[in-house]
């Protein structure tokens, strides 16, 4: 079993790395909203330029980003062709036997695939330049106002960090259990469907038992260390909103205004 890279964070010291996680989260969220404003060549070109600039600022190898795109590449291509074949507006620009490709179809196909790609780039950049734990801190801080309506913000963040903390541990455990059962004659990789379903049981039950035991022990340990919910708790990690963060927010607003101005 391979070790996986948690959250795919790539250590670095670029401007993007140093930004407050809150500004990055807000930016990504805002970007996802305003990307839908784009609807013509100008607006899309603007977006591409903008994202290109961010990629430059991140110092992240383009290869990593493209790699991140791979899993959804089929989706992008699929969407592209769907638009091309099913959209029958505008003039025919290309004819291949009985298949006609219309101007609008091609345009929309390109636009939608582009939108998709940009979205993936932007969200990938977030996880590539921010450690999972900082991201969790950012989310907690952003959701803080929800505490007023008694939404368990702190608890949610704690759950996320426990989860991240235990993924590698439980992965080793999974590996060990699988090996132990393989030594007892279980074949996890092949065989007919019924066999394969049967083979997961000796993995699932021990994994569940262990998760349960860990949960119990961790809860006890936390209690012994004085944990009693979010109230009255101080924070070790402080987030600081600096000038670059304000700049990012401003840039986003500027982008939105430009998009509204340029869209048709």
């Amino acid at each position: 079993m391979e070790k996986m890279i948690l959250g795919r964070y790539i250590p670095g010291n670029s401007i993007l790395h140093r930004l407050d996680p809150r500004s990055k989260l807000l930016f990504v969220f805002g970007f996802i909203c305003i990307i839908f404003l784009a609807n013509n060549v100008y607006t899309y070109s603007l977006l591409v330029l903008f994202v290109g600039l961010i990629i430059l600022l991140s110092n992240i190898n383009l290869r990593f980003l493209i790699n991140g795109l791979k899993p959804v590449l089929i989706l992008v291509i699929f969407t592209f062709f769907l638009q091309i074949f099913f959209n029958k507006e505008g003039s025919v620009i290309f004819s291949l036997g009985f298949v006609n490709i219309y101007e609008e179809g091609l345009k929309l196909g390109i636009f939608i695939s582009l939108r998709f790609t940009l979205l993936v780039f932007i969200t990938s950049l977030l996880t590539l330049t921010t450690t999972p734990i900082t991201l969790t801190d950012g989310i907690e801080s952003l959701l803080n106002p929800l505490k007023k309506v008694r939404f368990p913000v702190h608890e949610l963040a704690l759950m996320m960090s426990i989860s991240l903390r235990f993924i590698p541990t439980l992965m080793d455990e999974t590996d060990k259990i699988m090996k132990a059962q393989m030594a007892r004659g279980v074949d996890f990789t092949g065989g007919p469907f019924k066999e394969r379903i049967k083979s997961v049981i000796p993995l699932l039950i021990p994994l569940f038992v262990s998760a349960f035991k860990r949960a119990e022990e961790l809860a006890t340990a936390m209690e012994a260390r004085g944990y009693r919910g979010g109230e009255g708790r101080t924070k070790y990690r402080l987030l600081t909103w600096g000038f670059p963060d304000t700049a990012v927010a401003t840039a986003l607003i500027l982008l939105a205004v430009l998009l509204i101005f340029l869209r048709s």
Binding site: L6, G7, R8, F36, G68, P71, V72, T79, L82, Q83, F86, I112, R115, F116, V120, T123, S124, T127, K147, R150, F151, P152, E155, L156, L158, M159, M160, S161, I162, S163, L164, R165, F166, I167, L170, M171, T174, F193, R196, I197, V200, I201, L203, L204, I205, F208, V209, A211, F212, K213, R214, A215, E216, L218, A219, M222, Y227, G229, G230, E231
Partner: protein, 184 residues
């Protein structure tokens, strides 16, 4: 609800979400019939956790687990499906209040009740809500997302029906005799 979440539940949700991620990553059984579709064993686990720890835990394990799984595997989160995972966990947990697994009884009646619930919840979730959200959020072509949703839904229903039932039966057995799974 804030203060009522016990430490044990918080920890169980955190660790449960981690298990959800790992099963999703390493214990999916590919269907031979349709390429690129899997029997996701993690939904059987989600159903079990939802029945044992209730709707809130079920919902949050689905939400956190699926979001983490997406971001680890793809680097971005496919929100429409994450939402559905959360709903599936929540409603299975909600409906399972009647099963009362802690009593140790998990006979024919409970099995049928559990499976009807999970089937309804999942078909609505994957067949209806997920595609609708896909169209709304990602402007995806309709016929594609419907097919995708229904295939995924059916697969998950089958997985939970087989594995979820076995897991629950096994869990119920441990409840009859002793007070806890802990045997130290």
């Amino acid at each position: 609800m804030g203060k009522n979440l016990a430490i044990k539940t918080i920890v169980a949700i955190g660790i449960g979400a981690a298990v959800f991620v790992i099963l999703g990553r390493f214990a999916s059984i590919p269907t031979v019939v349709v390429p690129n579709t899997n029997f996701n064993t993690n939904y059987a686990f989600l159903a079990l956790m939802a029945v044992v720890f209730g709707p809130i835990a079920g919902g949050l394990i689905g939400l956190i687990g699926h979001a983490l799984l997406d971001s680890i595997m793809w680097g971005s989160i496919w929100w429409s499906w994450v939402v559905v995972s959360a709903l599936v966990g929540f409603f299975i947990g909600f409906a399972a209040k009647r099963i009362n697994i802690e009593s140790g009884e998990f006979g024919k009646k409970q099995i049928i009740s559990f499976n009807i619930t999970q089937a309804i919840v999942q078909i609505i979730g994957w067949g209806l809500i997920a595609p609708t959200l896909d169209i709304l959020i990602y402007a995806e072509p309709a016929n594609k997302v419907w097919t995708q949703g229904i295939v995924a839904g059916l697969l998950n229903i089958v997985t939970v029906a087989i594995l979820g039932t076995i897991l629950l039966a096994a869990y119920a057995k441990t409840r009859v005799k002793s007070g806890s799974l802990k045997a130290e």
